[in-house]
Amino acid sequence: MDTFQQTLFKLKRYWDERGAIIQEPHDVEVGAGTMAPETFLRVLGKKPYKVAYVQPSRRAADGRYGENPNRLYKHQQLQVILKPSPDDILEQYLGSLEAIGIDLSKHDIKFEEDNWEAPTLGAWGVGWQVMLDGMEITQFTYFQQCGGIDLVLVPAEITYGLERLVAFLQGVESVYDIVWTKGVTYRDVRFQDELQYSVYNFEMANVDRLWRLFAEHEAECKELLAKYETRETLGNETLQPRRYPLLAAYDQVLKCSNLFNLLDARGAISVTERVGVIKRVRDLAVGTAKLWVDQQNPAPENSKEAA
């Protein structure tokens, strides 16, 4: 039986053999692997890209103080992006399951419709949840739009829920019983996080301060986006298109998104505010995506200037 990390190695190796860049997680808090710039920004534009990475994903409201065998505040997704999606993408995906020791001829695999939408990111796609013996093990999505922009090269996104998948492989009923590596369980590694962050998220996070942080990150992002638009008139060397820090602006979007989730878990977002706050985050995401596309595909005069 493979340990948690051995299964992870096998999946990474599998996608490595198929030409994917193996990335490390993004180092800003995100709610899903999709939000990491390796997905959100890279799927935009005309440049083919293949990448796989594990993304720890924080969902404050899903915390259960480490008491629920299947629910976690922070779980780990293996995110694979293949842009454009190859014709045999589903065969490749099924091959990855074989690679981690699932003999598909002895199991029941179904692809059940499940379309994905992220209002805060202006993103949606169509696809399936992949069911293995009645358990959802993967979310498969053909992205159609991201940051409100139609995608020219449609990427396939494969998101493996690692805890659930490995619990299945190891035949354990609680994710905390997963053998992470020999002699070490998932509980040993992660229980403290689950407990302490549940306490923080639900009981102690300072709502007023979170709101102020949200406003600060939003302001930082807005300022960066606004200066990109007017950069030529400022005559500042720093503001040349290719040097322009849109990646840093995107981190501010992620900060806002995470703070939104935290405030939501604290029950601090009132009815009237909720829709408005989602729109505030979405405006930042859409604004960043639009400029990113512009930056990646400079108009002829811009590229001269940059050269």
């Binding site: 454009p84 598909l104 002895k106 059940e112 013996d133 009645g134 358990m135 009923e173 009132s270 009815v271």
Partner: protein
Amino acid sequence: MSSGLNFLLEIGTEEIPHWMIPSAVAQLEKLDLFGATPQVDATPRRLVVRATGLPMRTADQTLVVKGPPITAGEKAAAGFAKKQGVDLSAMTKVGDYWELTKNIPGRLVGELLTESLPAAVLGLQWPKTMFWESTGARFIRPIRWMVALLGDQVVPFEIAGVKSGNVTKGHRILGASSIPVTFATYESELRRNFVILSSAERRSKIQTEITALGAKPDADLLETLTFITEYPAAIRGDFDPAYLELPAEVLTTVMRFHQKYFSVESAPGKLAAHFVAVMNTSGDPEGLVKKGNERVTKARFNDARFFWNVDQQKKLADRVQDLSHVTFQAKLGSYLEKTNRVVELVKTLGGDANAQRAALLCKADLPTEMVKEFTDLQGIVGGLYAKHQGEPEAVSQAIYEHYKPLSMEDSIPSTPEGQIVALADKLDTLRECFRIGLVPTGSKDPFALRRAAQGVVKILVEAKLPYAFDSLFDGELRAFMLDRLQHYFREVRRYKYDEVNAVLASGAKTLADVEDRLIALSAVRPTENFEPLAASFKRIRNILKQAAFNPDSWLFDVKLLEAGPEWDLHQAFLKAQGDLSGKSYREALEAIASIRPQVDLFFDKVLVNAQDESVRSNRLAFLNNILTEFSTIADFSEIVTTGDPANKS
């Protein structure tokens, strides 16, 4: 006529959402195959059209094209000929015009299919389509292969970079991925490769196997599984009987909606600790699939038990204030505000203390963990919790059923308290949405207001509630409700549209009363006097309209009536009028219909437009009396009668 050619088209795709497949099949059944009848089959991975007897080529055709008038001269004719690509000598003079008879040779059907099939395939209508490759084609899911054969020839074409051929694929896991086929071998090759092409056969295989395993029948689930599998096979799994302590509604929801399992009963209405799952594979010899499904089920039931226990830590009554955090609609505020409105409405409608209590608690299950997880169980969970927390039976049952009816087929709440809360809840949604302009248009109805309106109508009619239609709705909402009301009586209850119009025009107050009148009207309608009398009533109305008769201008004077048919009609009218009081609608309608011979005779013998002004006005007043007195049950002039031009439409 020879025997013709066989045709096979298979569009191989990635898994199509099950619920969209039947509509695609229906569309493909209309495919133009040069007179041959398409036989259409489908699985999640393939849409298949087969037909026999296609012609090799289409028939030659002769087309006559009219040219310029001869008076326009030879030059005009020459110009016309040039445009048509022929010599002037090919033109003939017919009457005053030049004419060209063109012979259009028939074409090979194979060529025509090459041209038409890509558009036919891409023209299929789907609820939601996607892009996936560089030609920009849109389809429901990516097309990965295509088989197109006419006779033994491939019909060549290309869609989204995929070329048609004669090679198909079998079952994803159990079948080969490259299988050459002919029209004759196609279905048997698929079968050898674990694909049952016929949905009827898959359905019956599932049906047989689940029945043998003791599954409780579920037609919707059967349909879903038929179109989610290429090679279905059923297995039975078990769970710990300790979970049977959880409400059956919760267990069934987990099994049915989350896991697509059939449940198993040990006795009617009593769940057994088993489930029946349908796999998309041939079997489970090592029991791994069973074990996997049991593991998932256990985790799901564990979650449900966890939610139940956590939720009991705070009573429903203590959760009402939490509804201030739950959005009803951005402009309409929270569910707490909605709750307060519904409570008031229940009071206004005369609901008792139990109904008011149920209204107060009916949305309080929204913030519970159970409803967050199993949203379909909203209301039901509230009802179960209310019962568990010691609320009176009348309260818990009303909460349990207050979303009913969920469809036209669904029943209304079973108790008076439930009916009034369900009515008030839907009424509030309708009124508030209309107030801020959230009105359904075309296919857009995000708040499911049509369903709410339909539910209101169904409750008002079937529970025979005493509220007058006009006291509940006004303005734009009234028109909307009237439309739903007509829809209900016509499409659901199958009354004729003119009968519905006749009753609605008569001033019936409550919907139960509308129904009573419809029952009477549709019963009396086939009797011999009825339709002719309705025709006469229409005539009376037209006469009054033409004469611009004003009822206030002339007081009916019995002394001005002439002896004979006019007097006889008056007598018949008085008698029928006397017969109306205290009678059922049906008897009253029969009494009214009985004056038909006198009405006919009147119109036969008496001239309404008498020369004497006072006689004429008196006759109009007399007819007006009959019309108004006898239109109180149903407005007969709305009835479309034989020979009526409107009847043809």
